[in-house]
Symmetry: C3
C-alpha cells in the first residue's frame, strides 16, 4: 500500500532557490547538500549518499546519466525554472514557509519564485537578525525591545506567519531570564565596541524573554533552530531539552513552539512534544542530509510523539533536487512507518492515513493558522 | 519460532490499578497512556500508537470495535476485575513489584488487587517521600537520617523488597556527597520556611549518600528513576551517566542498582551495566509509551548489556491494557532480538532461551531475592 | 551481492595479542571481550552475544563444539600462532596500526607478532603516557613540553605513524588552552606531591594545546579516545562534541583528527566529520562489543558522514577471535548498508564498491600516509 500517494506537502521550514545563472554550477549543487562551509573539501561531499541521490534525481528528470558532468551539461540546456517547477510538482509541494534569514546568492525574489514553482509562499521572520538591525537606533535597551516588538506586531501584515530564533547559533538553547539592568550594561558595552553581530548571551536571552509575550499575543508560532546545523552552531548546546525553563515559562501562557531539525536529538524533541502542549518539531535537514537513515530517523521521531506534533519540513535551499530529495525521504520514512504500525501495532488504516495527512500538511495549517 | 511462549513475566517496576468505578472513563484511559499532565490536550494523546494499540487490546478482549465509545460502553458492561485479571493472565504476569509512591485515585488496595489479578504483589519503598514525611519530627539533620535509616531497616518486615530514589525528579542524577554542616544548614532553612516538599539539593544528596550504606547492609536493591518521565523531571539531568561518582563509591561496597526507564539513555544504561558489577536496568515506560519503537529500543538496550542485567518492567499503572501492551511490546522486542542473534550472530537456541528467561523473570528473582 | 568479498582490512586502531602460554585460559578469553575490569563477574560476560559469537568463531576454526571447555581444550592442542594467523588471514587483515599504550601481559613482541600473523604492523604513540615518563626530568613546564615535542618529532623514525590522546580518560574532552603560568603552578604542585600519573586538567590541557602544532608540522594524525571505554573513563565527558574549541582552533591549521570508538556518540561524530575538514572517526570497540547492533551502528555512523571519513578499526586486543569478530561485524554492517543504499537510494554499484574500499583501507592509507 502507498500511504503517501497524492498527499500534499506543506514545508514549514525551507529557504529560497538559486536562479538560472547558477543552474549548471556543480559546486553550488554540492555545497547545497551539506552544512559544511566552502573550506570543506568538495571531494568529501561527493562521497555521500545525499549527493549521489540528488544526482540521481537530476539525472532522471533530465534524462541523462548519473554523473556530475552529464548532469551539469543537461542542466545548462534546460530551462531551470521549468525544471525546478517539475521537481516541486512531482514531489507534491503545495505550500512553502520560507525563512528569509538565509537567501542563496543569485536567487529569485520570492514573488517571482512563487510564480516559477507554482507554489504559494509564506514567510518566517528571524528574531535575532531583525533585532540586530535595530541595535544602533537606540540608547536604551528597553527602547530597542519596544522597537523589536513593533516589528513583530507588524510581521503578519508583511506576510510573515511565524518567527524563528537562532539563539542556538549564538549562545545555546539554555535560555534564561535576564534583568533589565544587566541587559542595559551589555547593550551599552556592545555599542561602545561597535559590534554589529548580536552575540552577547545577556542580550540574546533578554531579547527572547522580553519579546516572547508578543509572539503569544500575536499568535505567531516560534521556531527554534535546534540540533544539526553548520559548524557555526555548537551542537552540544543545541539539545532542545535545554529549553526547559523557557518552555515551562511560556507554554502555559499559550506560546506555540516548533523545534527545527532536532537530529540527533529527535527522540528528545519527541519527548518534549509528548509532554508539553503546543510543542511541535521536525527532522528537516537530517532529511535530506542523513539520506540513508530516513526510515530510522522518522521512526525514532515518532516513538513518543503524537502524529499531531511532527511537521514535514526540508530545510532545503538553493537547489530543487534538495527539495525533491527531502520529500522523497520523508515519504519513504512515513511509508515504512505506516506499514510497521498497521502490521505490528494494530493501527487501523484510516488512522494511519489521517496521521500522514497531519504530518504532511494539516499540522502546518493548524500551527501557522493558514 | 516463538521464544517467549509460556515465559512468565515478573514486573519489577509498576504501579497499582484503578478500581471498577472508573472502568469506563475514557479520559482516565487516555491519560494512563502518557506522561503528560491533564493540561496536555486529550486530542493529542488520541494521535499516538500507544493509545490506539491499547484500544485494540481492549476491543479484542471485549469483542467490540476499535473505537473509544464502543470500548467505553463495553467496559461499563463488563466486570472490571475479571477483565483486568484476564488481561494480566493472558499477558503472562506472574509477579508485580509495585512502587507505592504513586497510586491512582479510586484504586484497589494492594491485598485486594492481588486477589483480583491472581498475581502476587511485592512493594518498593520510595526514599525521598519516606524521608519527607519525617522532616518535621527532628531538629537535627542527623536525627532525621537516623529515623530514615530505621524506616529502611524495617522495610523488609513491611513487605518491601527494594528502595526507589526519585532524586532525578528533584535535583538530578549528578549525586554528590554533602557535609553534615551544610546539610544541617539546609535542614534548618527548610524547616524555617515551612516547606513540606524535599527539594533542596544539599538535603537530597546528603540523604542518599548517608542512607545508601543501609541499603547495602539490608541487601535492598536501589531503583533510580532515570530518563523519560513526566515533565516534572528535567530529562537533561536524567542521564544515568551522571550517577558515576555514586556508582564508583557504592557499587564496590556491594550496592545493587536498577536504573528505571532509561530511554532515551538506554544505550548509556547498557554501557553502565556492561562495566559495573550489580548495575541493572530496564526500558519500562518507553514500552508501552514508545510503542512503535519496541523492537529497536529492546535491541539497543541489549547492544552492550549482558542479558543478565536487563529486567522486564512496564511502569504501567491505572489501566490493565497498559500492562498488557507493555508485555506485548517487550515480547515483540525480545522475539525479534532472539531471531536476529540466532540467525546472524551464531547464538545457540538454548542460550537465547535462557536469556529471555533471565530478562523476563530470573534477573528480577535474583536481584530482589524472591 | 557480496560487497566486501576480497576487500582488505587495514585496522587503524588495535592492540597486541597474548602469546601461546595463555592460549587456553578462558578467563583471559572472556575479559578480552569486555571493557569491564576483573572485579566484574565473569558470569555476566558469559551472557553476552559477543562472548558467544567469539566462542562460535573459535569452535568453527577448531572444529569443536560451541562450549567454553571444549574450546579451551582444543585451543591447548593447537599451535596458537598458526591459529591466530589463520583467523587474521580469513578475516582479511592486511595491516595493523597498534596502539602501544596498552599491551596484554605475556604477549608477543611486535616484530614477532608481525611474523606470526603475516600482517605488517605500524605503531601509534600515546601522548599522555609519553609525556608522563618525562615529568620528573624537568623543573620548568616549558622544558617538559620541549622534550615531549622532541619525542613527537622522532616518532616517525621509530615506526610511529600517528599520535593518540587519552585526555578523555583523564579530564574529559572539553579541551581548552591554559596559560603557561598556570601550567607551571600545576607542574610544581604535581612534582611536590610526587604524583606519577598525569591527571591535573591544567597540565593535560596545556600539553595537548602546546604540542598539537608539532603534530601538524610532522603531519601526524591525532587519535582521540572518545565514547565507550573501560569505567576509568567518564562517558559523560567523552562526547566528541566537547572537542569543539580544539577542532575550531587546530583543524584550520591542518590537523588531522581521528575520533576513536565514538559509540554511543557515533551520530555526533558523523556530524563532526560532515562539517569539519580532516575529521575522521570509527565505531571500533562497539564492534566487536555491541555485536548484535553492528548493522544499526554502522548505518547510524554513515547517516551524515561521507564514506571518505569513516575508518575500519577493531580496538581488539589479546585474542584473535576478537579481531575476527570485529571484522565480521564491520562487514555485516557494511554489506547491509550497501544493499540498502543501492536498493533504496539509487546509489550506483560502482560507487558503493568504492565506498567499502575507502572505509576498509583506503581512508587509513591516506590519513596515515602509508
Amino acid at each position: 500500500m502507498s500511504w503517501m500517494d497524492g498527499v500534499p506537502l506543506w514545508d514549514h521550514h525551507c529557504h529560497a532557490l538559486i536562479g538560472p545563472s547558477l543552474a549548471g554550477d556543480m559546486e553550488v549543487f554540492a555545497y547545497a547538500l551539506t552544512e559544511a562551509p566552502r573550506s570543506y573539501p568538495l571531494s568529501d561531499i561527493q562521497e555521500t549518499v545525499t549527493y549521489w541521490q540528488a544526482l540521481a534525481v537530476a539525472a532522471k528528470e533530465l534524462g541523462c546519466e548519473i554523473d556530475d558532468q552529464g548532469v551539469a551539461e543537461a542542466l545548462r540546456q534546460r530551462d531551470f525554472g521549468a525544471y525546478s517547477r517539475s521537481l516541486f510538482q512531482q514531489a507534491g509541494y503545495k505550500r512553502l514557509l520560507i525563512d528569509t534569514g538565509f537567501t542563496p546568492q543569485g536567487g529569485w525574489a520570492l514573488p517571482e519564485l512563487e510564480t516559477v514553482l507554482g507554489v504559494p509562499i509564506l514567510k518566517i521572520l528571524r528574531l535575532e537578525t531583525t533585532a540586530q538591525e535595530l541595535l544602533y537606533q537606540f540608547a536604551d535597551v528597553r527602547d530597542w525591545i519596544l522597537a523589536v516588538k513593533d516589528r513583530v506586531k507588524n510581521a503578519r501584515s508583511q506576510g510573515y506567519v511565524g518567527m524563528k530564533s537562532i539563539v542556538a547559533y549564538r549562545s545555546g538553547l539554555e535560555v534564561y531570564p535576564v534583568k533589565t539592568i544587566d541587559a542595559q550594561a551589555a547593550f551599552a558595552e556592545m555599542q561602545k565596541q561597535g559590534q554589529t553581530r548580536l552575540t552577547d548571551p545577556r542580550l540574546l536571552n533578554y531579547l527572547l524573554w522580553e519579546v516572547t509575550p508578543v509572539f503569544i499575543s500575536e499568535a505567531l508560532p516560534l521556531q527554534f533552530h535546534t540540533g544539526h546545523g553548520d559548524p557555526d552552531t555548537n551542537l552540544y548546546k543545541g539539545n532542545p531539552l535545554l529549553l526547559r525553563e523557557f518552555l515551562e515559562t511560556f507554554i502555559p501562557q499559550g506560546l506555540q513552539v516548533t523545534l527545527l531539525h532536532t537530529y540527533p536529538y529527535h527522540r528528545e524533541a519527541g519527548y518534549l512534544a509528548s509532554v508539553y502542549p503546543r510543542v511541535y518539531f521536525d527532522v528537516s535537514l537530517a532529511l535530506p542530509l542523513a539520506a540513508s537513515g530516513a526510515k530510522r530517523i522518522v521512526a525514532e521521531a515518532l516513538e513518543l510523539a503524537p502524529a499531531s506534533r511532527l511537521l514535514f519540513a526540508s530545510d532545503s535551499h538553493t537547489r530543487p533536487e534538495s527539495f525533491y530529495l527531502a520529500a522523497t525521504l520523508w515519504k519513504q520514512g512515513l511509508e515504512a512507518y505506516c506499514d510497521h504500525i498497521t502490521q505490528d501495532h494494530y493501527i487501523l488504516p484510516q488512522v494511519a492515513e489521517r496521521w500522514v495527512n497531519l504530518i504532511a500538511w494539516e499540522n502546518c495549517r493548524r500551527v501557522y493558522q493558514l
